[in-house]
């Protein structure tokens, strides 16, 4: 019985992130459009897009290898695993031992690797440019991300997300300048990894500045649907990560009763919605960077992450 409940709770989280991800994308799009004084598409438009794409027949280039067909499934699966592992409404779920921050970074890294390879598979120059730029951004974002992980691991004594979140809920950590620095660094990494402005523009097509869209240009039909769903899931995963690490209030801890789960889900939805709104406002306020200035942007994230680790190290080395 206990096992069944645990499985149910974990399954709920897996379906929750999958179901909420397109809504989150719709919410940020809607808000951005409203900020630009446009009416914007419906909140549920991303679902419709996904359904439409799933119905369509994928068109595959002659020069594509079998890997081209496999890649979308790999990308979707590993992104979904990462998104489902990040604690959303409760800590200490069934697979909480697997919610290691480094593992999640690795899952997302694998998805990016798979997609980058697929971008080069057909052999068009455009896909190649997209892949090489995406990998350049990733290679700059990952060190910054790992430094954020180190900061949190130093503070909580564990790299397990569930344990860190419980630690932050339970222990009074006080005013920590390191946590603030880590938050800013994580947000910068999240912006870069999710191909948002100022690093990349998620809405452009056929422009020399685009990165992510150039890479997936050859995909269509259900393959494209999977890739779009994966990028929505990735955004949700990063937002859940920020919410779980830096705003863990409202999360159901492992000691409290499962009856609080609806409350936890509501709290998570609210946090994600707020973060989506912040993203929309930020994207409206800044202009896109030149690709060659992206290293500076992510270098800033790296410096902040490093400083966070260093400052924490000073106050703890006793």
């Amino acid at each position: 019985m206990r096992l069944l409940l645990d499985l149910l709770a974990q399954g709920l989280q897996m379906t929750l992130v999958l179901a909420a991800a397109p809504l989150l994308v719709g919410w940020t799009r809607k808000l951005r459009a409203r900020l630009l004084r446009r009416r914007g598409p419906d909140l549920v438009q991303p679902y419709r897009d996904l359904v439409r794409l799933l119905r369509k027949e994928p068109v595959i280039a002659h020069s594509a290898s079998p890997y081209f067909r496999v890649a979308p499934y790999l990308v979707f699966a590993s992104t979904w695993i990462a998104a489902a592992l990040v604690p959303t409404y409760a800590t200490g779920l069934m697979f909480h031992w697997a919610t290691d921050l480094i593992a999640i970074v690795a899952f997302l890294g694998f998805a990016r690797f798979a997609l980058g390879l697929a971008g080069m598979d057909v052999g068009t120059a455009f896909g190649g440019i997209g892949s090489s730029r995406e990998v350049m951004i990733a290679s700059l974002a990952e060190p910054a991300m790992l430094l954020v992980v180190f900061t949190l691991a130093l503070l909580a004594g564990s790299t397990q997300l569930s344990a860190i979140a419980e630690f932050l809920v339970r222990e009074p950590v006080g005013l920590r300048v390191s946590l603030g620095l880590a938050l800013v660094a994580l947000l910068m990494v999240a912006i870069a990894e999710n191909a948002r402005i100022p690093v990349d523009n998620p809405t452009t097509h056929l422009e020399l500045t685009m990165v992510h869209e150039a890479m997936v240009l050859e995909y269509s039909g259900r393959h494209l649907a999977l890739i779009e769903a994966a990028s929505a899931l990735k955004l949700t995963a990063y937002f859940s990560l920020v919410a779980c690490l830096f705003f863990p209030f409202g999360m159901v801890t492992s000691t409290s009763s499962p009856l609080l789960y609806p409350l936890g889900i509501l709290a998570w939805m609210a946090k994600i919605a707020v973060l989506g709104a912040v993203l929309a406002v930020f994207e409206t306020a800044v202009a896109k960077l030149r690709v060659f200035r992206v290293p500076e942007f992510l270098g800033g994230a790296f410096v902040l992450g490093f400083l966070g680790t260093l400052l924490l190290f000073v106050s703890r080395a006793l």
Binding site: G174, L175, R176, G299, V303, L311, V314, S315
Partner: protein, 218 residues
């Protein structure tokens, strides 16, 4: 000392290091001056907090000096100088932001590694302030090395002095006489720098100190 007081001291001193990095990163002259004013204000807050938590009233005076002279008079005067020189729109080519930041990180790590073992006897706050202060001093030095403009070099020097004040207040306060004389010597250095900058400008029509290299005589 209560954990909250320690956290506040940590927050203020840590912010000073972060602002030092901002100074290194900023390449607009007016931006540099504004960031410098922010650093001086954070320094004043940090010193005032130390005055309150150590129960040392004379430190309030230090905080006041930092706030008025370094947070107000010097940035305003520098703004005026920059406007008179007509370089307020200038964007300085910092030699390799990425490299500078990496060197800055290495210097900060060095400061921490050097200070932590030798300051075992000092209290938690004292040791931490000393480490951060050394980092601020080294970053100020780095800024003086990497910049070419005489005005931003002056800012680097002033930011270095901010680090000195932070170090002194962390170590159970310093005598008021020392503090006042340091403040005055800084003010005099500032005036000398001001005259110096104008003289460079008069001679070479630029405040880029690389124009002086022709006169090195080697």
């Amino acid at each position: 000392m209560s954990p909250l007081a320690f956290d506040i001291a940590h927050l203020l001193a840590g912010s000073m290091v972060v602002v030092s990095f901002l100074l290194l990163y900023q390449d607009r002259i007016t931006g540099v001056l504004n960031v410098f004013a922010v650093q001086a204000i954070i320094l004043a807050l940090a010193v005032a907090f130390q005055a309150w938590s150590q129960g040392a009233p004379h430190l309030y005076l230090t905080a006041l000096i930092a706030l008025i002279v370094k947070g107000g008079i010097i940035p305003l005067a520098l703004h005026r100088i920059v406007r008179e020189l007509g370089i307020h729109r200038e964007i300085e080519k910092v030699v390799g932001v990425g490299l500078t930041m990496l060197v800055g990180l290495a210097l900060t790590a060095l400061a921490v590694i050097v200070v932590l073992p030798i300051a075992q006897e000092a209290g938690r706050v004292g040791r931490e302030d000393l480490a951060f202060a050394l980092a601020v001093i080294l970053l100020g030095l780095l800024m003086m090395i990497t910049r070419r403009n005489a005005v931003t070099q002056v800012v680097g020097f002033m930011s270095l002095e901010n680090g000195l004040v932070l170090a002194a207040t962390g170590a159970k306060g310093m005598p008021l006489v020392v503090e006042i004389s340091v403040a005055f010597s800084i003010l005099i250095a500032f005036i000398v720098f001001g005259i110096f900058v104008f003289r460079i400008r008069e001679r070479f029509d630029t405040v880029d100190v690389h124009a002086l290299e022709r006169f090195r005589g080697d």
